[in-house]
Amino acid sequence: MRVTMKLISATAMAAALLANPAMAQDDVRIALVVKALGIGFFDAAAKGAEEAAAELGNVELIYTGPTDTTAEGQIEVINSLIAQQVDAIAISSNDTDALVPALQKAMERGITVISWDSGVAPAGRQMHLNPSSNPLIGNMIVKLAADHLPDGGDVAVLSATSTSTNQNIWIEEMTKVLPEYPGINVVGTVYGDDLADKSYREATGLMQTYPDLKAIIAPTSVGIVAAAQAVVDAGKVGQVNVTGLGLPSEMAGAIESGASQSFAIWNPIDLGYSATMLAYELSQNGAVAEAGAEIPMGRMGTLTLDENMEGAMADPFVYDASNIEEFKSIF
């Protein structure tokens, strides 16, 4: 049985090396659990969480998640975090309902549980952090257009489908705040159905129908890219500004060509930072998650919870020529 002996002695040696506890046990351990590891968006969130941990000082951050975006993978991770008796879990979930029993068990054992980005059903968490809110997004998309039109002008909206819930709510919220932007004249809304070619044709059509068009607002990541391409192809860079909601990796070209001056989307770094701060406040500083509670989150200000224990972090983050290089490789 020489084989076995060798194996045992080798593992025992490895164990001795690893068993040396590197961390001080009195550190507050906060676990940032993501949908799956190896996704740029979540790596950026972890960067923000590290920043928060460094700012707080006595925090050990555990950045973890499954290899596939499965609920069962996240349950395995949660079980091992419960076993380690971490102080708090901040999770972006793969399944609203499937994680509830595991997270309830965590809360029963005194672990603070919050969800962020992609939420968990209220029974399975103390609170949820949304990156932004519908009114904030509605305001931001028109503000982006207005910022580059000091004298006002015609703008049009290129949406996803006419039945897209998110886009419809955002456009509705935008309409509500329009009186605050005098001179901005919304001439129409068209639908590109979140298809690149249809969005492209609709954007081209807008420029032909409204020759004085100054901006296209596309609150969809597919539409905004297609519209920017349409503006470039029509030779209208500098005349028509494309803005709305998009992903930095897909919009880098449009910013470079000048077809888009700026656009917005959540900032994953701020999101990870805020989630960590909130988890710390709830777990260590006696903050209580209840309707109307205002919980501080460091440099991001305070979060106000609604009756569903949800809160909106901030305005969507604006990306332009000054920061696109940094973010285009992240997500």
């Binding site: 084989v3 164990a15 690893l18 068993a19 499954p66 395995e76 091992s80 076993a83």
Partner: protein, 329 residues
């Protein structure tokens, strides 16, 4: 005038029974399991806690249920790569039935029935049409998961009745979960089936030489068909347990599970080319994989590194006896 040399007793075998047992795969694997257990207990202060260990059994129980049937299938020289997709389809079928108010017994029947039907479909293609099982099941893997994705879209089925939760969240006694109990019962059932019945002998015979088995009167295709049915049924059972544990069905359910099941079987000492392997080996392999993933999880090793570790373990454990053999020669 007695010539003693003529009467000298010759041993039946060159090694004794104990020697063979000590050199067996199962003992090597058991040693690995003990080593990993010791390592984990030393590396993490949270490992030796019965409740934590009880939670950790979920890392392998559902996969092991499929692994038992898969072991028989692989010993018989076949393979089924569609098992994870069967789990997804069975779970989707249960979720779909739920929308029409089907109760717990009905849901279980539908889960198991879907598994059986998928197994029968695989078995039919392999035995009646004479297609290679690896090709057939790669095809049905996409087919079953495709159907499930079409039904689900990017949505999910949830709202399973509370009584349905017993399979994946219930306890039989103290820390023994319902799933662990099912696992233990199946281990005995499959152990007896493979090692103590004619059917089990036929499985080995087919794996070693299907033609010889056929000429010896073994109904080869019938045995193969039954093995595919069994594998489908076990995938259906795993779907019941997994769905019950999650309380919801999503398109990503059981993604990648087939490779973990095959890994478990091969780690358990089953020859991937067929003909040999044991159920006790698979049982120990299930524990080894559960202990490894849970232990590494406690050390917060990322999942990607964990799969590298499991891969290395598999290659290591398989290569070691061969290397030792070469060194001795």
């Amino acid at each position: 005038m007695t010539d003693t040399s003529l009467h000298r007793r010759l041993p039946d075998r060159l090694t004794t029974r104990t020697q063979r047992l000590l050199r067996s795969w199962e003992v090597l694997l058991l040693a690995v399991a003990v080593a990993i257990f010791t390592f984990n207990a030393l590396a993490s202060p949270y490992f030796l806690n019965v409740w934590n260990l009880s939670d950790a059994t979920f890392n392998f129980t559902e996969k092991a249920m499929i692994a038992f049937a898969m072991a028989l299938l692989i010993i018989a020289g076949e393979i089924d790569l569609s098992v994870a997709a069967i789990v997804a389809l069975a779970s989707t079928a249960m979720g779909y039935a739920l929308q029409f108010g089907v109760g717990t017994p009905g849901l279980v029947a539908i889960g198991l029935g879907t598994g059986l039907a998928c197994g029968a479909f695989n078995g039919f293609l392999v035995t009646r049409l004479g297609l290679a099982s690896i090709v057939v099941t790669i095809g049905t893997m996409s087919l079953f998961r495709g159907i499930s994705s079409i039904v689900l879209g990017d949505g999910a089925f949830n709202g399973y009745p509370a009584s349905f939760a017993v399979f994946g969240q219930g306890y039989v006694w103290w820390v023994i979960t319902v799933e662990l109990a099912i696992f233990a019962v199946l281990a005995v059932v499959f152990g007896v089936l493979l090692h103590r019945t004619n059917f089990g002998r036929a499985v080995y015979a087919i794996g070693n030489n299907p033609t010889a088995a056929l000429f010896s009167g073994v109904r080869v295709d019938r045995v193969r068909f039954i093995l595919f049915l069994l594998t489908g049924l076990m995938a259906g059972l795993a779907a019941v347990c997994l769905t019950s544990r999650l309380g919801s069905t999503r398109p990503s359910i059981a993604m990648g599970m087939e490779l973990e099941v095959v890994t478990m079987v091969v780690l358990g000492g089953v020859n991937i080319l067929g003909g040999s392997g044991t159920i006790p080996g698979v049982v120990i392999a299930a524990f080894v994989m559960g202990l490894v993933t849970f232990g590494l999880g406690l050390l917060n090793v990322p999942g990607i590194v964990m799969s590298i570790f499991v891969g290395a373990l598999l290659i290591g454990v398989i290569a070691l006896p061969r290397l030792i053999g070469k060194l001795r020669a």
